[in-house]
Amino acid sequence: MVDSFYWITLDLIIWGITGLYFQQLTADSKQIIFMIISGVILWNITYRAQSDISLGLIEELWNWNLINLFVSPLTFIEWVVALVTLGVVKSIMSFLFGALVAFILYKVGIFFLSIHLLTFIILLLMTGWWLGFTVSAIVLRYGTRVQTLAWTLVWLISPLSAIYYPLSILPVWVQKIAIFVPTSYVFEQGRNLLYNGVVDYNKLLISFGLNILYLIASIFFLRNSFDSVLKKGLVKVF
C-alpha cells in the first residue's frame, strides 16, 4: 500500500522541480508546470492499474498461494475482477493523494480538467488493465523469471504516449506507431484542453475503441495462458 503514495510523491518532487526550472526559462510558465505535473499524475493511473494487476499475480506466485485460490470455488473471472478492483481502488487513492501533493507543493489543481478528467481517468485505467493482463498472461506462461515485465512493460509505451511533449515532436515514423497507442490521444487532448480550452471527443473515441480492442485481446490471451498452465499444472508455475 505504501508504494501507492511513495512513487507518486517521488515523481512529483523530481518532475515538479524540473518544471520549476523550466518555469524560470519560459514565458509560458504556468501551463508548462501544469502540463508536467498533470502528466505525472495521469500517467501514474495507468502505471498503478497495470502493476497492481500484474503484481497481484506475482505476489500469489511468491507466496505459493495460487493453488489455494484455485482449489476454492473462486472462478477465473472473479479473480480477474478482484485484481482489477484492487487496481482501481489503489489507482484512485494514489491519484487523489498525488493531486493533493501537487496542489500543496506547486499550486497545481488537476481538477481544472473538470468533467474531462473522468474521461481521461477511465481511458488511462483501461490501458493499465490490458497492459496488466498482458503481463500476467506472460508471467503465467513463463513464471516469475519474466516478472521484471511487471515494472517495465508499461514504460515501453510511455515514449509513445507523449505524456510531457506533443506528439508532433516525435519522428514521423514514431508518430505512425503512436496512433495505435490509446494513451497518446488522452495526453494530446489534455494539452488541447490546456492550451485551447477544447477536447476533441472523436480522438478520445479512437482511444476508447483501441482500449476495448486491446482489452478483449489481452483477456483472451490471459485466459489462454491460464488454460495452458492448467495443462502443465498450476503447482508448476512459480
Partner: protein
C-alpha cells in the same frame, strides 16, 4: 455410496504418462491412502482431483457430478492441504483464515473461524504474520484452512509433515474424529507408513502412474510373506545355525548379540524344528511382522529394478 468416482484418468506430459488410465472411487466417511514412491503419480493425481491440472483423458465426478462442468459447486464442498502450497506470508493467521472463509463464502464466518482456531490450537499465534512462524505452526494453519469450510471431502498431501509427534498424533485423532462424527471422506498421502496404517481404511498403491494395489492396509501387509526372526543363542551354537541358513539360502545378520534371520513366514516352523532337533537353546526370540513399509519397499525396489 461413492462420493468420488474416477474413471480412466490419464495425464501425459508429451509422451510420458505420469498417470496412466487409473480408476477408483471413494465412499462417504472413507479414508483413502494414496501411496507410492516419489514420481509415482500421486501429486499429479491429487492435482487433477482438485481441478488445477487438466487430465489428458478420463473423468472425475464428485457427488455424481462431473468436476469440470460443476467446478464451483463441487469445490465449495471439498478442500485441500499440502506441503507445496503456502498462504500469504505477510498476513496474520487470523487475516489468512478470514480471507479463506470469504473464498468459500462461509455462513456464520466468525463462529467457524473460532472453531478451527480452537481445534488447531492457534489462539496464541493468531495475530502473528505467517513469516514469523515455524514450519510446524504453518502446517497447523494449512490444516485449519483445509477444515474451514467443513468439507465433505478432504485431500491431504502429507498433512502431518514437520509436526512434532504430539501434534501429529492430535491431528491424526482429529482426522479420525471428523470421519466418525461428520462422515468426512479423506484422500491422504503420507510417507509415514505407521500413520497410514493407523488412519487409512483403504490404500491405493500407485507406481509408474498405474494402480498396482487397492486394498485395506491389513490385506496389503498379508501379501508380504517375508519376515525376520530374531534370536539370542550362545556363541558356541553359532556354526550349525550359520551352516543351516546358508544351506537354506536365508539371509542372516549378527548384531547386538542377536541373530536376525530373514525368511518366508511359512519357513518359521522349519527353523524352529531345526533348532529343536539340534538342541540349540535360544534365550530370546521375536518375530518382526511385515508392515506396510515392507510392502512399500517391495514396490519401490521393483520400480528401481525396472528403471535399471
Amino acid at each position: 455410496m461413492d462420493i468420488l468416482e474416477v474413471k480412466n484418468l490419464t495425464k501425459k506430459f508429451d509422451k510420458f504418462a505420469a498417470v496412466d488410465n487409473i480408476s477408483f472411487s471413494l465412499k462417504e466417511g472413507e479414508i483413502l491412502g494414496l501411496l507410492g514412491p516419489n514420481g509415482a503419480g500421486k501429486t499429479t493425481t491429487i492435482q487433477m482431483l482438485l481441478g488445477v491440472l487438466t487430465p489428458t483423458k478420463g473423468t472425475i465426478a464428485y457427488f455424481g457430478k462431473e468436476l469440470h462442468e460443476n467446478r464451483e459447486e463441487i469445490l465449495e464442498k471439498i478442500n485441500f492441504s499440502s506441503t507445496y502450497t503456502n498462504l500469504p506470508w505477510n498476513l496474520t493467521v487470523k487475516e489468512n483464515l478470514t480471507f479463506i472463509s470469504y473464498l468459500y463464502d462461509i455462513k456464520e464466518r466468525s463462529d467457524r473461524i473460532q472453531e478451527v482456531i480452537d481445534n488447531f490450537r492457534l489462539k496464541e499465534i493468531l495475530d502473528q504474520p505467517l513469516r514469523e512462524l515455524s514450519s510446524g505452526q504453518i502446517t497447523r494453519i494449512n490444516l485449519a484452512k483445509a477444515f474451514i469450510n467443513d468439507p465433505k471431502i478432504l485431500l491431504l498431501d502429507e498433512p502431518t509433515a514437520s509436526l512434532d509427534p504430539e501434534i501429529a498424533k492430535f491431528i491424526r485423532d482429529f482426522i479420525l474424529k471428523q470421519r466418525d462424527e461428520k462422515k468426512t471422506s479423506i484422500v491422504f498421502t503420507s510417507h509415514n507408513m505407521t500413520e497410514v496404517e493407523e488412519v487409512c481404511d483403504r490404500i491405493l498403491f500407485i507406481n509408474n502412474g498405474k494402480i498396482v494395489a487397492d486394498d485395506t492396509p491389513d490385506n496389503l501387509m498379508k501379501t508380504i510373506d517375508e519376515t525376520t526372526v530374531n534370536l539370542v543363542i550362545d556363541k558356541n551354537n553359532e556354526k550349525p545355525l550359520l551352516d543351516y541358513t546358508k544351506h537354506k539360502n536365508w539371509e542372516i545378520k549378527y548384531e547386538d548379540r542377536q541373530y536376525s534371520i530373514h525368511l518366508k513366514e511359512k519357513e518359521i516352523a522349519e527353523l524352529l524344528t531345526f533348532l529343536s532337533s539340534k538342541n540349540i537353546p535360544y534365550h530370546e526370540i521375536s518375530i518382526d511382522k511385515p508392515g506396510l513399509e515392507d510392502y512399500f519397499l517391495k514396490i519401490a525396489r521393483k520400480n528401481k529394478f525396472r528403471e535399471a
